[in-house]
Subunit: 401 residues, 4 copies
């Protein structure tokens, strides 16, 4: 067992730091999942999940990773050969593409450089060109966890509306949900994909699908084979407060407590807190003279910041120096930015001083690893954190236009 | 919140009572699932799972319910139209059938009366008749949780061997594993299906597939669409100590601790303990003048006992009386024995005095609910429990023959 | 570490079974014991303690064992040479006597046979004879944990009143509080002594003194040296929500939760539950043909039952058989009943089925240890437990007279 | 309940941050405190406590605050009228004085300015002048928690030896133990006083007395009235693995785990870690242009740093700004430095990044509270933390001379 002489700093963008209240809520005996007492819990977490997704429609809660919820979105609504439009925002878009391909979808994967959100103008162009409405779904990643770039789902909705295109809008908000504004109903999302281990402050083990009436109707008619992920069964069982299989009881205890905490803080305050922490982090990165992975100033993620390593310096070596010296885990660069970038999470159960510990560890680590940089990132971050009221909320490029 | 003025008696056959040691092992901060520290945990639970299934082959550990592991067994090895042989041992066999049908398998479902294990002679007859080897898999439930009847997998293996039939042998041992002998390799099982919330003493949330070389080879060649459940990916990632998605870190902490407890006790002792508790329970049922759901004396489950209600008495009403008066949850009768039977779990983290509390609650409940019965079941159970050494191990009918 | 293959049955009369809710409330980070947040907790537990003791006067909460609270009662109100009247109800009376002697009190220790409560008539006689009012305090044990005999404090108060004697009335209710009626103010108690590890359902580590105005006035004038136990200091600091030393923060978290649970159940229901469990236990003892340690039918403790072993059989040997075979801890016979009696606790977080497990373990243990007895104690206990409404509340002899 | 949107920073010098491992070890059911299983625990924590105090003599473990252990040291060895020598190092010396006076000792209290350790030369002068050996004990505080100044016990021992004075040497090392070198036997300490809630990383609730043979002999002959604190009784019961009262079982579980963690790290590494964190803190204070409360460069505490507020600025107002803005608790100035100083704890379960979060919160707080200071304290601290090997161990002034 690794010895920790103080708290480990877990600054990867998921699994995130779990509040003691949530851990303790889960640290309880199980219960009869067919009892009235369980049904009360079941209804409570269903309703709470709806409030977090901001929807009146059903929210599926799967005992699964977020990956499972990606698959659920696909197998419920699409069939082999269906054409879909996806955008290469980063590794998680690539992984979702992989699943789409396994289910034999015909994917138009708009290439990207992993340094910005999806190109909504290009999406709109593709939709406009698709007069025959062959495209059955547009699938985007809201908050690309591998890069720290945000794609605004509302802008994609507007593109669909402007082109009067009937494709479903499916959004992975696994690391967006509960760390930044998300409006399943108001933004016209058809399928939202979520997971427990990010801003929901839970251990991994729950996947979510929020749906629209339109998506439900399409799912009903969809002949694709499915069982575990089948929405109809979940919805049918949910009506009596349970699920079509033994639910992950203890994780549901935690889900209830985590959402209670989010609501005690107030979702708007939760979002403002993430933005402030994100702004402070970027101020530090800028002061160090390093580049953020995200190059679009309007697309910075409130939940994590990708940082590009200077040429000739390996990000994973740097991460090891930080781990060995300061007992802090930073996020690795994934796939094509392996070794070239690292990620700082500031998502979930997190606050100003945890961030300052984090940034201090990075600043010291840069020095110990002999990565060229200017000192003073921590000072720059403190400047931001001190001026609480004046941190402007970042707006997406397209939203502003 | 329900107030408990002492410990709730959770005597449903899963989720079962979770040991404090296991709950506390899970009540810990998460960790970087891509770190060396995690890989150490990953390798440890993979190896531990192999020891429990008694196999040298890979064991998939899914963040899922047991239902998911059923689906995994199917989608990895079979394709639409494939013929399989299943046996109606009870509700869980029926549910697995449902999944098979959703994946468009051609199921030969041998009917059963839910009061014994699968009819191995009939299985053998079907296999013998299948000269063309159309049957791709025989799928049986080892310990039928809805009835308390055991089907001995080794006897099915022998039937396959005697008929020299190449069909895969797939066994659901969700509620059998770790409560009674199970030998994945030695018994020639091709796919074993497990879950966390029974004798593994964990919360629900993990599904297992143990496999054979033959099953792996078939899976490699199998064109069926799959992603989440795909063995190849799990095996590839497992080689470096991780999984192809964010694993359920905290449940894995618990899995490690639970298996440590099982091994401290010794698996043979674990099995003997379950048999003793089961024998005592049956002695009580007999003394009450009630019938066990299982009618085959060789097929009684070590983990749970189904009890038939006298004609004219509703099992769920009885269960409610017990819950309201004694804060004990008993298992409901499922599907076609709804209201006609209830189930007593004596599986997992359980001992003699917990059983005596359980049986006392039932005996008092029978009285309060005015169910005709003889008193003295608890006395009969004590007779069994006192004579520890003399409880004979139950043997399966076929094994004896 | 001892391996438990199910829950250990902890049936000693303290420390008792701790509810999961209480354990989890304590399983939290500490806090600044000089903060406003702490003061809120401090005031909450002070007020809650007053409700439990049924007093409007201050309640001292010490980081100590109950022994410490005994000492506190003495050093605050009495001086060397002071005459006090005590009654030998059992080992805890003897231990309190020991402390009184160490502080050089002149103790008139009324002898007893450990099989009934204090002889209130004899107390009254001594008081009546003490025309000079030399006796400064009458000190009795409410619920004698070593025997299971109750002394009704109200009767002692009446004796004081009838003799118009000004002595202080000091009552050890360590194992009485929260398991049976206790009225600090209404019964005219001057000093009540409590502890955390009995019916308060907490770990050991907190001692309590509830006081009267009269006791406070006497304490103010009392020249006895003291510091840690000094009421004045505690009361002064309590006014601002804290204590004159670092308080046992995590135990206070637990105290708050434990009292919340007692109040959710309702104290009257708590008392009725203890009486029912106690009656059932005695029914079992009677059916076994054994004697209870308490011979006064009006003095049976709701919280524990002492049982006399048949001549020639060692109680501790029997307890070992029970521990080794059934993983249950029973209370040992203390001091002069060492080896001659054992104690069954049915106090605190406890319910009918936990009791039935307990009694079953005893009945089986009697058999395995070859202790002469009749079987059927568990049946007799069930008869009592089934008839919830008809269990009459036991009344004290004197109260009836 | 206060909402925490990340971890609260508890930077008061006790209660300190409790490791999850320790909290979870305590979050367990109780056990029979008279069982063999408990005796095993009892012997284990007695032996572990001896290793931490570095003694072969008995160590008393009281269910009490540290205040109780102060009182225990006095009542076991001294009698009313005995002359003792104490040094006013700060508030905790003043509090111990208060207890000594309550027990009517004749205290020669050497005045101090709360900005350095005890004046050992002055102590030696007093001892030399006491030809009649009226002084029965020299009582000093090792690590004065109210100021952050260390008094080296070994130097006091040398002064006693040089003057051939037979007085007992009694040392409060409540906040010194396990954060800096302490050698009960090798340094010739007669009574060491400890507490659980500092570097032992436990909740408050345990007090300790380590003793010498000489102190034990004096205690045996000492007629002072005592019971709860009486060493003889504890030692007698400890021989069979238990205590003369119900021990604080769950805190003992935690003590075992906490000492295991300290020993896994290695006590020398624990001490070096505290020194490094302390040096970094002082570097920050210096860079801010503030003064440490401790003015003797050889006497800085490894466990906490007192900081003097600039004239005209209230320390408690500043602490409130920090608490309100950054959810961090800093230690208040006590007694005569109330409002004039605050304290930063860097003791116990603590590491570099927790310290950086702490110092960042202070630097931002100074700014928000408009306290005159230079920025850059955090940078100065990072310089120290980066250069791990080069931090020299601080030596006491007298030791150097």
């Amino acid at each position: 067992m690794t010895l920790h002489t103080g708290r480990h700093f877990l600054q990867i963008p998921g699994p995130t730091n779990i509040p003691d209240r949530v851990l303790r809520a889960m640290d309880m005996p199980g219960m009869d999942h067919r009892s009235a007492e369980f049904a009360e819990l079941g209804f409570a977490v269903m309703a709470a999940s709806q409030r977090i997704f901001r929807t009146k429609q059903p929210v599926m809660i799967y005992p699964s990773s977020g990956t499972g919820a990606w698959e659920a979105a696909i197998v419920n609504t699409l069939s082999p050969g269906d054409k879909v439009l996806m955008a290469e925002t980063g590794q998680f878009a690539v992984l979702w593409l992989g699943i789409a391909e396994k289910f034999k979808l015909d994917v138009d994967f708009l290439p990207g450089d992993w340094r910005r959100g999806a190109d909504v103008e290009q999406i709109e162009a593709r939709l406009a060109a698709d007069r025959a409405h062959c495209i059955k779904a547009v699938m985007v990643v809201h908050n690309e966890t591998s890069t720290g770039c945000v794609t605004p789902p509302l802008e994609v909705r507007k593109a669909l509306d402007r082109t009067q295109h009937p494709a479903l809008l499916m959004v992975d908000t696994i690391s967006g949900l509960a760390s930044q504004e998300y409006e399943h109903d108001a933004w016209g999302i058809d399928v939202s994909v979520g997971g427990s281990q990010k801003a929901l402050m839970l251990p991994p083990g729950l996947g979510f699908n929020a749906v629209s009436e339109k998506a439900l109707a399409i799912a009903k008619a969809n002949p694709s084979m499915r069982s575990y992920w089948d929405w109809q069964e979940v919805i049918a069982f949910n009506k009596v407060g349970t699920w079509p299989y033994t639910p992950a009881v203890n994780l549901l205890y935690g889900l209830k407590e985590a959402i209670a905490m989010l609501e005690e803080e107030g979702l708007d305050n939760v979002f403002a807190r993430h933005k402030r922490l994100s702004a402070a982090t970027r101020a530090a990165v800028k002061a160090w003279g390093l580049e953020t992975q995200c190059q679009d100033p309007h697309a910075h993620s409130p939940g994590l910041t990708g940082v590009v390593m200077p040429e000739g310096h390996d990000a994973d070596n740097f991460r090891k120096v930080v781990l060995d010296n300061f007992d802090m885990s930073l996020g690795t660069g994934l796939n094509k930015i392996k070794g070239k970038a690292f990620r700082i999470a500031h998502i979930g159960h997190f606050n100003d001083l945890m961030l300052m510990g984090t940034l201090s560890g990075i600043e010291m680590g840069l020095d110990l690893a002999k990565v060229p940089h200017h000192s003073g990132g921590v000072l720059a971050a403190m400047e931001v954190l001190k001026g609480r009221g004046v941190v402007p909320m970042s707006k997406s490029k397209t939203a502003v236009a």
